[in-house]
């Protein structure tokens, strides 16, 4: 446990918004260490500031208070080492699967040939070989999110943030995608921070689960999930942990 390398750490993050002339506190004094190549799940009730926390790590929002560090070095704003898979898919409808996937390296100014090669590798990895020239409106929900995952990987980040990536999928597709993301992560290890409001999804995927309280979000408890992968969602250990977390979860507002 102790020799694990800390990849990302956030310190004393607090953040609020002004809503109707009132300060609405979204996150309050959150400190967290994320280990290298760990699959960390942030679990919490709906609208509890999970997305805010992720947006702060990714640099979409600047925290009012607190710092963030990668490999012990402080950083600000968005960073090339951090990639993101968005909740609402966020594929650009005017770009083909290939053009969406190679977006990151393209922005970095990589040559077409080189970035195509990397993009192709991840398109193949997520199982979309043959769909490179399709536009997103021709794809199903699950396939779109595969593109989102391939796009994040193609930028070759060290840390991958996933904001309820499967929240909009139907239950069947969701199970399949949970297996997929686990397979992809095992094949291409990265540090993953995965946000969800679904307890089973959290236990199925996470090495560790960070349980947040209701608003303003604070860390309530951190669970180590020491079950062998692939996990059996009806095993007694799984169900026991599920009950334990579920009893400890605040009801959403």
């Amino acid at each position: 446990m102790d020799q694990k390398k800390i990849k990302l750490s956030i310190k004393n993050i607090s953040h609020g918004y002004i809503v109707n002339d009132d300060v609405f506190q979204a996150a309050s004094n959150i400190s967290l260490d994320v280990y290298d190549n760990e699959f960390l799940v942030i679990l919490g009730p709906g609208h509890c500031g999970k997305t805010v926390l992720l947006n702060i790590i990714s640099g979409l929002e600047e925290a009012e208070v607190g710092q963030k560090e990668i490999d012990g070095q402080p950083f600000k704003g968005s960073d090339k080492r951090i990639g993101m898979v968005f909740q609402e898919l966020a594929l650009m409808p005017w770009k083909t699967v290939m053009a969406n996937t190679e977006f990151g390296p393209q922005m970095a100014g990589m040559s077409k040939q080189q970035r195509r090669k990397i993009a192709q590798k991840y398109i193949d990895l997520v199982g979309l070989h043959g769909f490179e020239k399709s536009y997103p409106n021709k794809l199903s929900g699950g396939m779109k999110q595969r593109v989102g995952i391939a796009r994040a990987y193609t930028n070759e980040p060290e840390i991958l943030l996933m904001d309820e990536p499967f929240g909009q999928l139907d239950a069947q597709t969701r199970y399949a995608m949970e297996e997929e993301i686990q397979r992809i992560w095992q094949q291409e290890k990265r540090t993953i921070i995965f946000v969800t409001n679904n307890i089973e999804e959290a236990i199925y995927l996470g090495d560790r689960i960070v349980l947040l309280s209701k608003c303003p979000a604070q860390i309530k408890e951190i669970y180590d999930v020491n079950l062998p992968r692939p996990r059996d969602s009806v095993s007694p250990e799984f169900l026991g942990l599920r009950k334990q977390i579920s009893d400890n979860t605040d009801l959403p507002l």
Binding site: L60, S78, N137, N155
Partner: protein, 269 residues
Amino acid sequence: MKKRTVKLSVAEQKQHNLEIIYKLLPILSFLILIGVWLLAASVENARFPSPTAVWERYLLLCEKPIKKIGLLGHVLTSLRRVFIAFAIAWSSGIAFGILTGWNKKMGAVLNPIFNAVRAVPPLAWIPLITIMFGTGEGPKILVVFIGAFMPVVVNTQAGMSNIKQLYLNVGTIFNANKYQRLFQIAIPSALDAIFAGLRTSVSSGWMVVLAAEMLGAKAGVGFLITRGMESGDQALVLISMICIGLVGALLAIVMQIMEGVICPWTRKK
């Protein structure tokens, strides 16, 4: 080989019949239109020419063209005017719309002036332009330009200032610089709004060119229809009207095809 006849279920048969009915209905409406036309012509023969009279007038027009320019020649004269105006209005309108829609400061400076000018309908410009520049080709193209420029700017601006935050967030996450944000994210995502503007500019430009021609021209469909009016030649007026309608519809179809080619992702499944 034995031919197999497929037996349709009752529901399928019904569906099939419905489809045939939907194909026939538009033809029926055209037949009704011609019927009403015939009826109107038989009641008010002096003021309203029958379809056959219009057809005969068309044949005569082919034999003895007005001002030695055939019908097609008049159409092409009008089209030439609008196309020159479109080329200028589209390039400058899109550029102006992007500038004022994307750059908030530029928008704040230029939009009040633009909105004041826009409140004047393009046709109201004709007297001023005629006094200043006469009735040559240039002034006509200028009037059409005004008519086509406004909708392009309005729609481009709307598209550029309503870009989904989500797409811009993707740009932030992948560290796009400001030029990449503009050319890779903002402009492509505004393309359908821009195209809506282009479509409106086509119909408005086509309308304005006719008005400009009606007020003084030596050729063009607008001239033709005025000539018909002045000489009490209703058949000629109707021929011009049909022509104007057909060209307008054709332009709309061309725009649709163009959008499909330039923005293939908007094509229906």
